[in-house]
């Protein structure tokens, strides 16, 4: 009997387009969107490109020319700070307007800069010129007396100096954006609740006709509940496996070398998700309202875990920490986060145990509501 119920429930759930979309495909679509968006941010913020500038010498300045030559040479990482084009004023402006130069530096009795728009490159050139004017005496001395040390001097002058050393809590090299992926995994785990919601609805005689037919059949309720829950959980685990494969192998997001613990988080998180859905599916309200309740619940839970705005989780931790201790999406997100931040597993297991207790509580409540045998009204 168990096998019969399990087989058909698995089959029917796999063909339930809405549930499969939310559980299996929506997290992957959202993950792809995150990947595209974060790739853009990384490119803009982290990747440096040589800045093209046009220099107009209205008055000869040997020291400045030497400095510019130095900055035009590749640094240790193979990237030059500036790509300098010496030209006249008219051509320089033409290059500026055509976008072939980000800035025009005019050298006469002083050094000035003209730009067509504001941007990171323009700010960098401006900072360089300010530094140059402030430290021209030192540079002039170096050019005249120790020209071979000019390159090193330039690096010291323009790169700034850190006086505080950053100490990492862990050996893991976590990408800052990973926390968004953790929140997404948490959301995907909770979306398993749509499957739980469907099975619970179709078990209850006061909600669906299928539930009515099952209730009059000579099958014990706990057998139906166990078989259907297991079928929903199986599909949810498949969805999570697919998502993790996509994140780790296709998008190659670095989540540290914690595969076993990540898998455990997905297993327990999915359990909490399916149990949550089964609980709302057992509530004595209309079918559509049950779905709406679960959708709102899972989205709010994910929002509070920082899916849309990461700092919200930090803000909650400061203002109302109890929410972070009981919100299932935060528990999942935090379990994954703690894996890459801390070397110990105390916080991870605290989250996992809380999730397991949450799942067990919801399962028990759902069973108590679903196993009711006679209804007051249908």
């Amino acid at each position: 009997m168990f096998g019969h119920l399990y087989k058909y429930r698995l089959k029917s759930l796999l063909r339930t387009k809405e549930d499969i979309f939310w559980c299996m495909f929506f997290p992957i679509i959202l993950c792809t969107c995150f990947f595209v968006a974060f790739s853009g941010i990384n490119e803009k913020t982290n990747v440096f490109h040589t800045i093209p500038v046009a220099v107009v010498y209205q008055q000869d300045n040997e020291i400045f020319r030497t400095v510019m030559d130095t900055l035009s040479q590749s640094d240790s990482q193979g990237e030059a700070f500036m790509d300098v084009t010496e030209t006249d004023a008219g051509n320089a402006l033409l290059l500026l307007h055509e976008g072939k130069a980000d800035a025009v530096i005019t050298v006469d009795s002083s050094v000035s800069m003209t730009v067509a728009e504001e941007g990171i490159n323009q700010t960098a050139v401006k900072n360089f010129l300010e530094q140059y004017l402030q430290k021209s005496a030192v540079i002039e001395d170096a050019v005249k007396n120790n020209p071979e040390r000019l390159t090193g001097l330039m690096q010291n002058l323009f790169s700034g100096q850190d006086y505080i050393t950053e100490a990492s809590l862990t050996d893991s090299s976590m990408d800052e954006m990973s926390s968004y992926y953790f929140s997404l995994i948490a959301m995907a785990a909770l979306f398993g609740g749509f499957l739980g919601n469907t099975i619970a609805r179709q078990m209850n005689a006061n909600i669906t006709n299928e539930g009515m037919r099952k209730t009059v059949a000579p099958v014990r309720r706990h057998t139906i509940i166990a078989a259907e829950f297991l079928a929903a959980y199986t599909i949810q685990l498949m969805s999570m496996a697919l998502l993790m494969f996509y994140i780790l192998c296709v998008l190659q997001i670095d989540m540290g070398n914690q595969a076993g613990y990540i898998a455990l988080t997905c297993v327990v998180g999915s359990l909490a998700g399916v149990a949550g859905g089964m609980f709302t599916g057992s509530l004595p309200v209309r079918e559509n309202l049950q779905i709406a309740i679960y959708l709102v619940y899972s989205l709010i839970s994910s929002f509070l875990a920082g899916l849309m705005v990461h700092p919200i989780k930090i803000w909650i931790e400061k203002k109302v920490p109890v929410i972070n201790r009981i919100n299932p999406a935060t528990l999942i997100q935090d379990a994954l986060y703690s894996l890459v931040i801390y070397d110990t597993r105390e916080r991870f297991f605290a989250n996992i145990i809380t999730l397991a207790v949450y799942a067990a509580a919801l399962c028990t409540l759902s069973c108590l509501m679903t196993r009711r045998k006679s209804y007051a009204s249908i």
Binding site: H4, Y8, S12, N209, E210, R213, V216, A217, V219, K373
Partner: protein, 313 residues
């Protein structure tokens, strides 16, 4: 004496102030096709749901197959087939899978189940549609699938709750023929409907329900004999003066007579050859007449006389 399959005693079901089933009692014998006839909202489905222990009830006692029916009476449930008023199938499973799924809730042996499922498919005429999902089926076919899911496990007691609602006449005929066949094969049938023609056609005994009460019980003939009217004759007569109308009223067994818009309607309370008597009178008095109709009483007349309202109201 026949074996009693279903026994309902003094059943009461309340929804707050509303009494849905009001001290309802009933006995159904083995091999019957028992009709529960009543308008929508009369308490038929509530009675069935109480019978199946789907609904809790306030008062009364229900026995099926000689045992008290409880929510965990799995032995009893195993012998019951239910066809719900609303189609209760899985949209995601095809015809074969749906029947197999519901049959599998009763029959564990795979080979036997396969045989039963094939027989149910043949019985319901769904052989051409086994790969179809319910969404692709017409209303009539969907109803047939609903029935097939309910009877595939060959139950001894089949409960059909308004199985022909929103079904075309052809499918309706097929369904009614099928129910008769199931009964011939040994199943006891409880059939609820608000279509009196269907109930009259297939049921061996009928209970008329209204406002949760059992108003009358018996065979169709017994029910009809409970009322005064035995025959109603309608005759198109272009001209009929008051003198002749009064004379017709004085004919034997006439208890009601009216003439308007060129139609004479005469109701009789028994008697034989009523039509001959009235036509003889018209001929003897050289009164011209056109079309003539003779109607025997229907269950609607029974319902009308008992409740003062039409069954279809």
């Amino acid at each position: 004496m026949s074996e009693i399959i279903v026994k309902i005693e003094n059943l009461v079901k309340r929804y707050k102030e509303l009494i849905a089933v009001d001290h309802f009692s009933l006995e159904i014998q083995k091999g019957e096709i028992f009709g529960l006839l009543g308008p929508n909202g009369s308490g038929k489905t509530t009675t069935i749901n109480c019978l199946l222990s789907l609904l809790s009830y306030d008062k009364g006692h229900i026995e099926i197959f000689g045992q008290e029916m409880r929510p965990d009476s799995y032995d009893i449930k195993n012998k019951i087939g239910i066809v719900m008023q609303n189609v209760a199938v899985f949209e995601e499973l095809n015809v074969y899978e749906n029947i197999d799924y519901f049959c599998g809730l009763y029959i564990r042996d795979k080979a036997l189940r396969r045989q039963y499922v094939d027989e149910a498919i043949e019985f319901s005429g769904l052989a051409e549609y086994i790969k179809f999902r319910p969404k692709k089926l017409s209303g009539g076919l969907l109803r047939r699938l609903n029935i097939a899911c309910g009877i595939a496990h060959k139950p001894e007691l089949i409960i059909l709750d308004e199985p022909t609602v929103a079904v075309d006449p052809q499918s309706r005929n097929k369904i009614l023929e099928g129910i008769t066949e199931l009964n011939k094969n040994g199943a006891t049938v409880i059939y609820t409907s608000h279509y009196m023609e269907e109930v009259e056609r297939i049921c061996t005994r009928i209970a008329i329900m209204d406002n949760g009460k059992n108003l009358a019980l018996g065979t169709a003939e017994e029910l009809k004999s409970m009322i005064k009217n035995s025959e109603t004759i309608k005759i198109h007569i272009p001209v009929l003066d008051d003198e002749h109308l009064e004379a017709i009223k004085r004919l034997s067994h006439v208890y009601q007579c009216s003439y308007s818009d060129g139609v004479l309607i005469t109701a009789f309370d028994g008697g034989k050859h009523n039509l001959i008597h009235i036509l003889d009178y018209l001929k003897n008095n050289e009164i011209a007449f056109g079309q003539v109709y003779s109607e025997l009483p229907t269950l609607n007349d029974v319902f009308l006389e008992i409740t003062g309202k039409e069954l279809r109201d």
